[in-house]
């Protein structure tokens, strides 16, 4: 077959914060850049980020600096992080944030006209640059407008099916289809940057949109790259729980940063009962002490509501299990009794709007009902910190699809800054790779033909299953067995179940034509979802300890031995149902001066 064909120096898959920032960098290096996105430009999941982006600018607390930010990130990640990523991120995020202002971003200001910074869980100082509670929108719009002003080709509503190699195993391009027409398109590129975001759509209660199907994670694995830390999934403590139709929808951590507290059905601020030894020394012991901290961080220690997300999510889960939950199976998040209505509406306008319109709850007078929701995958493609290169020549990864930066648990606010720090580095990395001249040759068209045939197969079957049924069952199975609290028997069961899901995916039947057919689009997402779910379940079964976003009921404590390596997955064969092989990949050795920073903090 012949296909619509395009050629670029750098092809970027994904148009969220990381992809757009990478595009700007590659364009500034004078390269021909194409961007492919599953949605319209400006709709990527970045737009959902609310609270802010973490950068140690020191505008509110001058004592803040990159060393404190580095230390907070490593502690939040339970030391499973790629230290070099955490270091670069802490050092470079302030510059990346200031740069956004040159491109038109309008952050909230301090009284003396600097970028205002807000408190968030796990950050010692108020560190999040923000715009009310719509910071992600500001980030994506700023980058989008910059990319458009530079004249970049954007292929909207195109879904990439598979990366394609040349004869020597380098990445040479990819094959995609246009959602509006259903026609296939091939892209040849000297370098490809994956910026495809997360994989949370495989869980029932999730803050992720339909796009979060782990396409980039899966395609990287199929192409020969490695995935690490896939068992580390962040369940954000505060998702909406009622009404059912919005269950999982995110409630920003900014509510707690701005004074909101968590209460159980007895009205108790239960987080004081869940302070773990690692955070004991820096956390307030009484409500009085905690309440002083909001205005002056030297007057008291941090409120326990602002512990890292994994700690708070586990505590909420335990309260509900103990029978002290709210009527719809969550707990209460209360800012109404703590701040004035004017303050709440000014600082948290989207939250006010969201609860008023969707739940009929006025958050300035009533508490919110909230519970954990699948939010973010710390695990991802193993990359070199400095240039975002993967194990496959010509393939780079940045943002949520890349692993290592956040270790076992991500701090709130570190995601948006991750996107711009490593988006830029991926753009540079790809440009340097091209400049070095050892780029790929022609695409192996047999790989293209195989991907096209597989994508079209669901149309040709006489009989078969509706892809929506498979997706729904998969989400329920993953929620029940690979959720926030895990145990060996359930993880083993999940792996068995995933085999039968694979069989079901081989028998999908799609109705209708190829032009804008969501059923077919979902059928082409399911193989990636299954690959990712298998890697998550395998990693979760092997990590026989609890650490960050991976909690084992049967191994409730952290085990120092498991703190020395990541589980790294690769495939035997490059298909979605190929066997996954897992090995222990030792953590990078940290230089003494950085180790000293962590020692000081203890």
């Amino acid at each position: 077959m012949t296909y619509e064909h395009h050629e670029y120096d750098v092809l970027i898959i994904g148009a969220g914060g990381a992809g757009l920032r990478a595009a700007i960098e590659a364009k500034q290096r004078g390269l021909r850049v194409g961007i492919v996105t599953k949605s319209l430009l400006g709709k990527a999941h970045t737009v959902m980020a609310e609270g802010g982006m973490a950068a140690a600018m020191g505008n509110v607390y001058p004592e803040d600096n990159w060393m404190v930010h580095f230390r907070d990130t490593m502690r939040g990640g339970k030391y499973l992080n790629n230290y070099r990523m955490a270091e670069l991120h802490a050092k470079e995020s302030p510059t990346r944030v200031y740069e956004l202002e040159q491109w038109g971003a309008l952050f909230d200001r301090t009284k003396d006209g600097k970028i205002l910074q807000r408190d968030f869980g796990g950050h010692r100082y108020a560190r999040l640059a923000h715009v009310g509670d719509r910071t992600g929108l500001e980030l994506i719009r700023t980058l989008q407008q910059k990319v458009v002003s530079m004249g970049t080709d954007v292929f909207m509503e195109h879904k990439v099916l598979k990366l394609v190699h040349d004869a020597n195993g380098k990445v040479a391009g990819c094959v995609a289809y246009s959602r509006p027409t259903g026609e296939f398109v091939t892209f040849a590129a000297k370098a490809i940057i994956l910026a495809t975001g997360g994989a949370g759509k495989s869980w029932k209660f999730t803050s992720n949109s339909w796009e979060g199907t782990g396409d980039g994670h899966a395609m990287a694995l199929w192409a020969g790259a490695k995935l690490i830390d896939m068992e580390c999934i962040q369940f954000h403590p505060t998702g909406m729980v009622w009404p059912l139709s919005v269950r999982g929808l995110l409630v920003t951590e900014g509510v707690r940063g701005d004074g909101g507290v968590l209460r159980n059905s007895e009205g108790r601020r239960f987080m004081f009962d869940y302070v773990t030894p690692m955070f004991r020394a820096e956390t307030a012991e009484t409500e009085e002490e905690a309440d002083k901290w909001y205005d002056d961080h030297s007057a008291g220690r941090r409120p326990p509501e602002l512990l890292p997300r994994d700690e708070v999510a586990r505590a909420i889960n335990a309260e509900v299990k103990a029978g002290r939950g709210s009527p719809h199976g969550g707990v209460y998040l209360d800012i109404a009794t703590r701040r004035t209505p004017e303050f709440i509406r000014r600082r948290l306008p989207s939250m006010y709007h969201q609860f008023m319109e969707l739940a009929g709850v006025d958050i300035t007078t009533e508490p919110m009902e909230i519970g954990p929701t699948c939010h973010y995958i710390m695990g991802g493609v193993q990359v070199v910190a400095d240039d975002a290169a993967t194990a496959v020549a010509g393939l780079f990864a940045a943002g949520e699809v890349a692993g290592g930066m956040h270790g076992a648990n991500r701090l709130g606010g570190n995601s948006l800054s991750d996107l711009i720090v490593f988006g830029k580095r991926a753009g540079e990395g790809a440009a340097d790779y091209i400049a070095a001249g050892e780029v790929a040759g022609d695409m192996d068209m047999s790989e293209v033909e195989a991907a096209v045939a597989e994508a079209l197969a669901p149309f040709e079957r006489e009989e078969g299953e509706n892809p929506y049924d498979i997706q729904r069952d998969l989400q329920e199975m993953m929620q029940a067995n690979v959720g926030i609290i895990r145990t060996q028997s359930e993880l083993d069961y999940a792996l068995e179940q995933l085999e039968s899901f694979s069989e079901r995916v081989r028998h999908i039947k799609v109705k209708g034509g190829r032009a804008y057919n969501p059923g077919w689009n979902l059928a082409t997402d399911l193989p990636a979802m299954l690959t990712v779910c298998r890697a998550v379940a395998i990693g979760a079964g092997l990590r026989k300890e609890s650490r960050g976003g991976h909690t084992r009921e049967d191994f409730p404590a952290a085990d120092a031995e498991y703190g020395k390596f990541n589980f790294a997955h690769s495939t035997n064969g490059g298909n979605w149902d190929s066997e996954i092989v897992t090995e222990r990949s030792p953590l990078l050795e940290m230089p003494e001066e950085l180790k000293a920073l962590l020692e000081e903090a203890k």
């Binding site: 038109g104 909230d108 003396d112 949109s209 919005v246 929808l249 709007h353 319109e357 929506y468």
Partner: protein, 259 residues
């Protein structure tokens, strides 16, 4: 469990018609939930756009009972009893079912001359909350394009699309005009090529904005005033001619390298 009947427009550029679906409706559900239920059961190929399902991305705009709304923010229990009609946005060409070709807007976006700030001083720009607040209102825009859909200048006159930017881009131009750092001048462009004069302030756009941006009062009217001042006031005209040495024209600005 309650049931609801939905009349959904199905078809493509060559034509189409309404199809009725009767499906379950649960407490608290929004129109998008019902559309998803139809997809998951009776019509897996029913085309609709959506992403965040939280009123933040602006993907799922459609006309519900004839009025432009976000499907994810329209609660079923707030619609009148009886069948609910869902049709695609009228102003844009149909792709399929509820999905329209909104590329008009992306073409307009390419025409906007970029922000042109002075070099950044050490330690970042100093801007005060009062200065950024006006622009922040316009930057709340989620690009659902419902203001474009409802604007009669292009809703009823296809031929105007070539020389009219529409409310979404008037707030973008207003934002840049009021941006504390901008040194660009887009007033001639807005008056001539972007067709600001076509707007006769009927405020339809403001009424449908899901972000409650006061498009007409806070963006379009001030923009009209600035453009008129610049164009018809002879002193301002002279000043503009002189200032051109430092304040670049829109054409120059569009090709400025990144700062």
């Amino acid at each position: 469990m309650a049931e609801v009947t939905m009349r959904v427009w199905r078809g493509d550029a060559s034509g189409g018609d309404f199809e009725s679906y009767t499906v379950a409706q649960n407490e608290g559900e929004v129109v998008l939930d019902i559309i998803h239920r139809i997809q998951a059961t009776e019509a897996p190929d029913l085309a609709c756009r959506w992403n965040c399902k939280a009123g933040k991305c602006g993907s799922c705009a459609a006309e519900i009972n004839g009025k432009p709304r976000l499907m994810c923010m329209t609660r079923m229990d707030q619609l009148p009893e009886g069948p609910v009609t869902v049709t695609p946005m009228k102003t844009f060409p149909i792709i399929r079912d509820l999905v329209t070709d909104v590329s008009f807007n992306f073409v307009q976006a390419e025409k906007v001359p970029a922000l042109l700030p002075p070099p950044m001083p050490e330690g970042g720009y100093v801007m005060f909350q009062e200065d950024v607040q006006r622009g922040q209102e316009f930057r709340k825009c989620i690009e659902c394009f419902m203001c474009q859909d409802v604007c009669h200048v292009i809703r009823d006159h296809e031929e105007n699309k070539t020389n009219y930017a529409g409310p979404r881009f008037f707030i973008r131009y207003a934002e840049l005009e009021m941006h504390p750092l901008d040194t660009n001048d887009r007033r001639d462009l807005v008056r001539e090529a972007m067709g600001l004069g076509y707007c006769n302030i009927t405020k339809c756009c403001t009424e449908v904005c899901p972000e409650h941006i006061k498009i007409t009062d806070n963006a379009i009217i001030p923009l009209k005033e600035r453009v008129v001042d610049a164009h018809y006031d002879p002193i301002a005209w002279l000043g503009r001619k002189i200032r051109r040495r430092t304040k670049r024209s829109a054409d120059d600005a569009a090709v400025q390298p990144a700062p």
